[in-house]
């Protein structure tokens, strides 16, 4: 896994936000503007003039936003320069919020004389205050005085949509969003890995209170899952906090899992964090079907966890090159996970700089060729590679009467049998079959049998009669013509 990026959380613990939001709502405006207007308009000084709140705020009971506030003309009825000094007045702009509060519902209860009756002052005036001592701060307790809060902790186990609209519909500004309080359960150490998914599955609407689907899609490669699609994306123009993808490594992803991950791979299991591109970091051949089911990075918003290819632990051994053949033969599919066939061919049939042999190996290969720790013929055709090169270097077999190459020991010709049986592959890197048949065939000079004491002539004849005939010219068992 690549290093974990620090999580950028848009939550804070500033619970004051709720107070502020309610304040704004109570004043029919955003919090800050509302506060300023409260200070600008001295409600208490006018309390004797206005018997009803709706006299000025006539639009609030009917949720007619155009008449939430009085107009400047309304003020000028008194503040006309004669009765009272002129004043300037403009209604504050309504700020966005995410509360589901509807004045009409409460106003209806007021008109119907509900029990208990809901007066404006019930929410907007501090307890014990004068009738128009409109408070800047509306406490949550004001709501909960009538609405019993079912949740033990407001931010954790409340049924959010009772009071809140989804963030995507709120139109809240970035500063509001960044000031949203973070529920306590979000602070759990494994919340991202283990908590948030089940929580979202249980009630995605809770997530939608503070998050748009953009937050999910910032990390989730597969954002098409139902829990995420249920959330709404932010509308155009809505500014959101910067979201950096965060991909903690699950505890399940240990070495044993690494060996088995292919069998468990699926879009459902992997595409939360991984794009197809993560697979192709290691899977260098044609993409496995399970990996192909994952979306590509250019198809999704999330960057994906991003992984680095790494070699299995076995590759760290200084002797791995020597034992890799057995591993490759026992588990060929394991190699093919990361290595294309051309990777093998680069050494096994490569243009010689594949890296298997040390530099200048060709000049000192005789010991390795005689010792045969590895089977040269796995990569090199004895005839087409060894013999061709030897011939070009001047090492050519000339039949039974050697020209001097094997002259290091006396009587080489009559004592070569042991060497041939011990290193026959080395012999044929220079000699053709006909070189040997000059003596060993029935038509040869000496008719020396090359077969050992346990040679099963009948079995050989049954399996490959044409090879027997090459030296014997006829059936060696009964002398008949083939």
């Amino acid at each position: 896994m690549r290093p974990l990026a620090p999580q950028v959380l848009c939550h804070t613990r500033r619970l004051a936000f709720a107070v502020t939001a309610l304040t704004a709502l109570a004043g029919g405006s955003g919090a800050a503007a509302a506060g300023a207007q409260q200070q600008g308009f001295p409600h208490e000084r006018h309390q004797g003039l206005f018997p009803l709140c709706a006299g000025c705020h006539e639009g609030i009971p009917g949720s007619d936003s155009a008449s939430f506030y009085p107009t400047a003309a309304t003020c000028a009825r008194c503040h006309d320069g004669e009765q009272q000094v002129r004043v300037s007045w403009s209604a504050p702009e309504r700020r966005a919020h995410n509360l589901r509060f509807d004045h009409r519902v409460h106003a209806g209860r007021l008109e119907r004389g509900g029990d208990p009756p809901v007066e404006c002052t019930g929410c907007h005036t501090p307890e014990g205050g004068a009738r128009m001592s409109v408070s800047e701060d509306i406490q949550l307790g004001t709501c909960f005085g009538c609405h019993e809060h079912q949740a033990q902790e407001h931010l954790v186990d409340a049924y959010c949509r009772t009071c809140h609209t989804p963030l995507a519909r709120s139109g809240m500004s970035l500063s509001f969003i960044e000031a949203l309080p973070m529920p306590a359960d979000h602070e759990a150490q494994n919340f991202v890995l283990e908590g948030h998914g089940s929580s979202a599955s249980a009630d995605w609407r809770r997530c939608a209170t503070c998050h748009t689907a953009d937050r999910c899609a910032a990390c989730h490669v597969d954002a098409a899952r139902p829990e995420i699609e249920s959330l709404e994306y932010a509308p155009a123009g809505m500014e959101l906090a910067m979201m950096t993808a965060y991909y903690p490594k699950p505890a399940t992803h240990d070495e044993a899992w690494f060996d088995e991950h292919g069998t468990q791979a699926s879009r459902e299991a992997c595409a939360t964090c991984h794009t197809q591109d993560d697979c192709t970091v290691c899977h260098s051949g044609s993409l496995p079907v399970r990996a192909a089911a994952l979306p590509r990075a250019d198809q999704v918003l999330a960057p994906g966890a991003g992984i680095e290819a790494r070699a299995p632990a076995s590759h760290a051994s200084l002797f791995f090159l020597d034992v890799h053949t057995a591993l490759a033969a026992a588990e060929p599919g394991t190699c093919a996970t990361c290595h294309q066939e051309s990777f093998c061919v680069a050494c096994h049939d490569g243009p010689s700089n594949g890296g298997y042999h040390p530099p200048d190996f060709v000049a000192r290969h005789p010991a390795a060729a005689f010792g045969r720790e590895a089977e040269c013929a796995n990569c090199h055709s004895t005839e087409a590679f060894c013999r061709e090169c030897h011939q070009e270097s001047g090492l050519t077999g000339f039949g039974r009467l050697g020209p001097g190459y094997h002259s290091a020991g006396a009587f080489w010709l009559i004592r070569h049998g042991q060497a041939a049986r011990q290193g026959l592959e080395s012999c044929i890197s220079c000699h053709k079959q006909t070189d040997c048949m000059q003596c060993h065939g029935v038509a040869g000079a000496f008719k020396v049998s090359p077969h050992g004491a346990d040679f099963d002539a009948r079995s050989a004849w049954e399996r490959s009669p044409r090879t027997c005939v090459a030296c014997h010219l006829r059936n060696p068992l009964n002398g008949s013509q083939p």
């Binding site: 079907v289 034992v323 055709s381 005839e383």
Partner: protein, 497 residues
């Protein structure tokens, strides 16, 4: 050397098909979702300059007999097949040759058919100059791989030119391969026209120009394998046979068992094959690898049996080569995170050859030892040094190698190496020491383009004889590798290197 050209027409079709298919995918104006091509193109150019051996003839009158009774000329033993003339090897004038290899490796998938892919590896060769024929450089084109694969769930099917990497080597064939796999088991079977071992070309066509006796007959290959992957480890059993197309005889019939098992902290790997055609056990290997002290020590013990394998289509197998058995112990020690030391030793003995011996028999045992170290010096420097000694029938080698690498940056690596060795080839003349060294560099130009190159020289100082310095040579090489197609992981893999 003359090589058959008739296979060109055959291979041309094989080459063109995957090229056209992949080109169609690549340039198609309407690509299907998930469609992609991935691969690489690599060019390697190599040059070598050396003095080949040549057979020389001298009058017998110039030959003298040395203290051991051998006939020599200026200290070099000679062979005198006639009373008047003797022959010996000398060295010719220096020759230089340049060979180029062009590889194109592509895998393509898509077309809206889930699990369908095409894989091809094409190789072009050319000899750019010089008188020394570089091995196989007269083969202008090879399609080393070229197959279509369909993967559907647990089923995979391939058709085309392919190869099997197995305990029986690398059999290549033109044909079909199919497998079914579950989480723990896999069975596969394949059949097709067999290709020559180590050549990936039709055997009879490829080898007939090189060998006096190669049957002119197509060979069919058929095989099957079963693999089990259990908690105790993995094992693969394989059976394979080659027969002449006209069923006139068997070419080979072999089986193999390969396994790997983790027993606590130890890893056990083993392989053995059996030659049904000749009725004898083939190669075998059993290795136990054990990490100790949290992996700081790695101990590896190997028992090995080696016997060459030959097809029934040649006479070599009927000469009944004997096996050797070897025991080898190797260990490495990570003394510090930046320093690793290793040492190894092995001893082998050959089976009874039942061959005639005159005067004294040849050696029938051999041994090899080695030791080395890897040291990360820091600041991008690292060193690698080793000493190896091998002494067995046919050859003796004592060599020292030292390499140094400097990572100038994430993209540029510089290397230097030096070597000196003494070599004796027992079955022929030749005893000498060589000293050499070289420089190389590799540069990651972009995430997808890497260039590398190097040069080395080797100077042979013979053991006091007049004759030869066949190991003296100069070499140079350069390579260019370009990743093509969609491979998001390519850059990361390259950078890690």
């Amino acid at each position: 050397m003359t090589r058959s050209r008739c296979r060109w027409s055959l291979d041309r079709r094989g080459i063109l098909m995957p090229i056209l298919a992949i080109a169609g995918v690549t340039i198609s104006p309407r690509q299907a979702a998930g469609q992609a091509v991935r691969g690489w193109v690599g060019t390697t150019v190599q040059a070598v300059g050396l003095r080949p051996l040549v057979l020389d003839t001298i009058p017998a009158s110039q030959v003298v007999r040395d203290e051991s009774g051998a006939l020599t000329y200026e200290g070099q033993p000679v062979s005198c097949p006639t009373a008047s003339q003797c022959t010996l090897y000398g060295v010719a004038a220096r020759e230089t040759t340049v060979a180029a290899t062009q590889d194109v490796s592509l895998t393509a998938w898509g077309w809206g058919v889930q699990g369908l892919s095409l894989t091809t590896l094409l190789r072009g060769r050319a000899r750019a100059g010089g008188d020394v024929a570089w091995p196989r450089s007269d083969d202008a084109f090879d399609m080393i791989l070229g197959y279509a694969q369909l993967e559907r769930g647990s089923i995979r099917v391939r058709a085309g030119r392919q190869e099997i990497r197995s305990g029986l080597g690398f059999p290549a064939f033109d044909g079909a391969w199919a497998s079914w796999s579950s989480r723990r088991y896999e069975v596969s079977a394949y059949l097709g026209r067999s290709l020559a071992r180590g050549l990936r070309e039709p055997a009879n066509e490829a080898l007939r120009p090189l060998e006096s006796f190669i049957p002119d007959e197509t060979v069919h290959l058929v095989g099957a394998a079963a693999r089990a992957r259990l908690s105790a480890g993995s094992a693969t059993a394989r059976y394979q046979r080659e027969i002449y197309a006209d069923r006139s005889g068997l070419v080979s019939e072999r089986g193999s068992l390969d396994f790997v098992s983790n027993v606590r902290r130890a890893r056990l790997t083993g392989s053995v094959d059996y030659d049904f055609a000749f009725g004898r056990v083939g190669k075998g290997r059993l290795t136990v690898m054990m990490p100790l002290q949290d992996g700081r020590w790695m101990v590896e013990a190997t028992a090995r049996r080696y016997v060459p394998y030959f097809q029934l289509s040649t006479i070599w197998g009927f000469f009944e080569p004997v096996s050797y058995s070897e025991a080898e112990l190797r260990g490495s020690w990570s003394a510090r995170p930046d320093l690793a030391l290793w040492a190894s030793g092995g001893w082998r003995t050959y089976g009874e050859t039942n061959a005639t011996t005159v005067f004294r028999p040849l050696k029938d045992e051999g041994w090899r030892v080695g030791a080395g170290a890897r040291w990360e010096l820091g600041d991008g420097w690292s060193m690698d040094g080793s000493y190896r000694l091998e002494w067995g029938p046919g050859a003796f080698l004592s060599s020292v190698d030292l390499g140094m690498r400097y990572h100038a940056s994430d993209r540029l690596g510089l290397s230097a190496h030096g070597t000196t060795f003494q070599q004796v080839e027992e079955f022929r003349l030749g005893d000498g020491r060589a000293v050499g060294g070289g420089l190389s560099a590799d540069l990651v130009l972009t995430d997808r383009i890497t260039v590398a190159g190097g040069a080395s020289v080797l100077r042979h100082r013979d053991g006091g004889t007049r004759s030869t310095s066949p190991w003296s040579q100069s070499r140079a090489w350069s390579s260019l590798r370009i990743g093509v197609g969609e491979d998001p992981g390519l850059s990361q893999r390259r950078m890690r290197r």
